[in-house]
């Protein structure tokens, strides 16, 4: 959401040539992406994080924003963005590897209450805050999430909501004309 012009560094380019790990999953059949891809299984190539780190990070992101029916592919987008941040900055790599090591490999398989407890203990730190912010920026800004939450997004390309339900609420009375305005199509 906030583009960082310094992202295109030599460091980043070097990292993008290297694959350090893979995160895999299977698209839910309801995912809007399912129709677009040849296979429903997906794999995210990582350029800074190891596969084990990505699993831990995924568990952290799912604890920060737990939506039980939301496709893991949406969460994987967050992991991809965090991995890109790590690939672009030695400082971020150090921050992530330190924090992920102290969460430990068992974090991903802990019950949610325990994961919450662990994250609460590091909540004020830079690692948690940057993961939380990236989760909000990426998880809620993609078509998989929009479909899940029922958000219809932009409508200019469809002529707006004027004829597509902007005033279709029926469980409350209509607003008197004096406090409303004429429908253009009326």
């Amino acid at each position: 959401m906030m583009p960082d012009p310094s992202n295109c560094t030599t460091d980043r380019r070097r990292f993008l040539q290297t694959v350090t790990g893979v995160l895999t999953g299977v698209l839910g059949s309801l995912s809007p992406l399912a129709a677009l891809v040849p296979s429903r299984s997906w794999a995210l190539e990582l350029h800074a994080l190891s596969s084990a780190d990505a699993d831990t990070l995924l568990a952290a992101v799912q604890t920060i924003a737990p939506h039980d029916g939301l496709d893991a592919a949406a969460y994987a987008l967050v992991i991809g963005a965090l991995d890109a941040d790590a690939a672009g900055s030695a400082e971020t790599r150090a921050l992530f590897s330190g924090a992920l090591a102290s969460l430990g490999p068992a974090f991903a398989t802990m019950p949610e209450a325990q994961r919450v407890e662990q994250l609460r203990a590091i909540e004020s730190g830079a690692f948690f805050q940057s993961v939380r912010l990236k989760t909000l920026l990426v998880l809620y800004n993609n078509p998989i999430a929009w479909q899940y939450f029922g958000y219809q997004g932009e409508a200019f390309s469809k002529g707006g909501y004027l004829l597509r339900g902007f005033n279709d609420l029926k469980w409350l009375p209509d607003v008197p004309a004096a406090d409303s305005g004429p429908l253009p199509m009326a």
């Binding site: 959401m1 906030m2 583009p3 604890t63 920060i64 924003a65 737990p66 939506h67 919450v116 994250l119 939380r132 909000l136 920026l137 990426v138 998880l139 809620y140 800004n141 999430a145 929009w146 939450f149 029922g150 958000y151 219809q152 997004g153 932009e154 409508a155 200019f156 390309s157 002529g159 707006g160 909501y161 004027l162 597509r164 339900g165 902007f166 005033n167 279709d168 609420l169 469980w171 409350l172 009375p173 209509d174 607003v175 004096a178 406090d179 409303s180 305005g181 004429p182 429908l183 253009p184």
Partner: protein, 526 residues
């Protein structure tokens, strides 16, 4: 036929230089060029268009927003929740009129007599505006005609959306009387060469339908059509220079390639908004003006007001689909009165509001994470929303200074924003949020959620108008007391904040200022 774009010489000292192309600067560019003056308009951002506006909310935010980090201090929420982004405004041709939600209420008479009406409130620096309401009203009418405001001048209101139906039902149950689909600079029917609103809901991403007024879709193209506007994009003003006589002589800026340029000027209008305007004048300090240009009063940068904002979300059992429709098309006006029995001075509006995903969790909800936070977003379809917009009290130390810790890419200090909330601010916000909660509960909400304070979208007060040069930066027309050919043409000149969204007042004051400039030029006094 396209008018050829003029390119005025850097040494041409007959041109007017305007800094900033938003509500103030863009309107001033049109007003001066149509009167025959030649104008160089410096804009720090790029030029987008209805065709280029991104329809991805996250991308649109990056495309339009002033993202350069700033530093902050003080007690108000954004210091913690949004440490590098105290304000959410634009950096693009058209300025914040590109992403604004187009609410255009007028200030009320009591609000421009804040000091006289509210009395001497400890810890505030309240002032009366140095003009009569009858005069302001005349310019409001002119501004409303310019912008095509709904419910004014014979323009119909926008039709009620789902989100407004919820607000209306709850508000009427509470006994509120002045509740309607708001005064908006959005076409409710085709007008002035622009189409009507198709209720697409993406006001904040730049209106792709062009139903919403912006200086990008009206004032600037009209100024260009005169053949007298030289708009220079990606040009950041860094200094206003003055000569031995104390008059402004040139504006120094960095061009799109980062090179320093110096445009000579006949007179200068600064319209960077109430954060960037004082920053520029503070950066323009000199031996003659050691505290910053035109800052002998030491009032420059002080009295920063940003309005008391906060979202109230009602979560219902049934769908609202609040994102469908013009974002701010609804208002409760009844609390825009001064009634100290409520426990505070000044008033507020409750304005209809909705936020897209991801903006709702980013700025619209209280800080949080985990199951409870996620459950609010799980209810996204069933959320109705409103925004409190209340008057904040000016304080001498709520101010813009030059940052000692953060520099921009040119190595210049960025603006530092210090904000301490006044007890009156806290009492007003609490009252407004409680009324919002009661409103939604009256409509049947199962849960009501308040946001923390979002980054400021209204910037006011940092170069206030005053009759007495010791008490403000500009005279009652926005002309600086100390530099006779330097004007402030944005919300910086407000003497107090009132509770009205500021753009209409900015445009009204700029139309009035342009008229004053004409008269001063004709009389040989400029």
């Amino acid at each position: 036929m396209q008018t050829p774009k003029p390119r005025f010489d850097l040494d041409d000292d007959s041109v007017v230089v305007i800094v900033g192309s938003g509500a103030g600067g863009g309107t001033m560019a049109h007003e001066l060029t149509r009167r025959g003056l030649t104008v160089v308009l410096l804009e720090a951002g790029r030029r987008e268009s209805a065709a280029s506006f991104s329809q991805n909310p996250g991308e649109a935010f990056g495309q339009l927003t002033w993202l350069e980090p700033r530093s902050q201090s003080g007690t108000w929420d954004p210091v913690r929740t949004s440490p590098t982004l105290p304000a959410w405004h634009c950096r693009t041709v058209g300025g914040t009129t590109v992403h604004w939600t187009a609410a255009t209420p007028r200030l009320r008479p009591y609000e421009i007599r804040a000091r006289s009406t509210y009395g001497d409130i400890a810890g505030s620096s309240l002032a009366d505006w140095p003009l009569e309401y009858a005069e302001l009203k005349r310019w409001y009418i002119a501004a409303e005609r310019r912008l095509g405001v709904t419910r004014r001048d014979g323009n119909p209101g926008l039709p009620a959306s789902n989100n407004f139906k919820v607000m209306y039902f709850g508000a009427r149950k509470l006994g509120y009387k002045r509740v309607h689909t708001n005064y908006l600079a959005i076409n409710s029917r085709a007008r002035d060469g622009r189409p009507l609103c198709i209720q697409q809901g993406f006001c904040v991403q730049g209106c792709k339908a062009d139903a919403k007024w912006s200086t990008l879709n009206t004032e600037i193209p009209r100024a260009e059509a005169t053949g007298r506007l030289d708009l220079r994009t990606e040009c950041l003003a860094t200094r206003v220079e003055h000569g031995a006589s104390g008059r402004a002589t040139a504006v120094v800026y960095r061009d799109a390639s980062g090179n320093e340029q110096r445009q000579k000027a006949r007179f200068v209008c600064v319209a960077g908004n109430a954060i960037e305007t004082p920053r520029l004048l503070l950066l323009s300090e000199s031996a003659r003006f050691p505290r910053g240009l035109a800052n002998g009063s030491d009032q420059l940068g002080r009295n920063y007001c940003h309005h008391l904002n906060g979202f109230v979300w009602g979560i219902f059992d049934q769908p609202v689909y609040s994102w469908r429709g013009a974002v701010l098309a609804g208002v409760v006006e009844d609390e825009n009165v001064n009634d100290p029995r409520r426990g505070f001075v000044g008033g507020y509006h409750l304005e209809l509001c909705t936020l897209d995903l991801p903006t709702l969790p980013l700025v619209g909800l209280p800080y949080g994470w985990g199951r409870d936070f996620a459950s609010i977003i799980d209810n996204y379809r069933n959320i109705a929303g409103l925004l409190v917009n209340g008057e904040d009290l000016p304080r001498p130390d709520n101010r813009i200074t030059l940052s000692s810790s953060v520099k921009d890419p040119h190595g210049l200090p960025v603006a530092h924003v210090n904000c301490e909330e006044h007890p009156n601010d806290i009492a007003l916000r609490r009252h407004a949020q409680t009324q919002g909660q009661r409103l939604y509960e009256a409509a049947g909400a199962k849960r009501v959620v308040f946001s923390s304070t979002p980054p400021a979208t209204h910037q006011m007060g940092t170069a206030r108008m005053s009759v007495d040069p010791a008490r403000g930066v500009t005279n009652p027309y926005g002309r600086t007391h100390e530099v006779p050919n330097l004007f402030i043409s944005d919300g910086s000149v407000f003497s107090s904040a009132g509770a009205a969204n500021p753009t209409l007042t900015i445009v009204a004051l700029v139309l009035r200022q342009a008229d004053y400039i004409s008269r001063e030029l004709a009389a040989g006094r400029l």
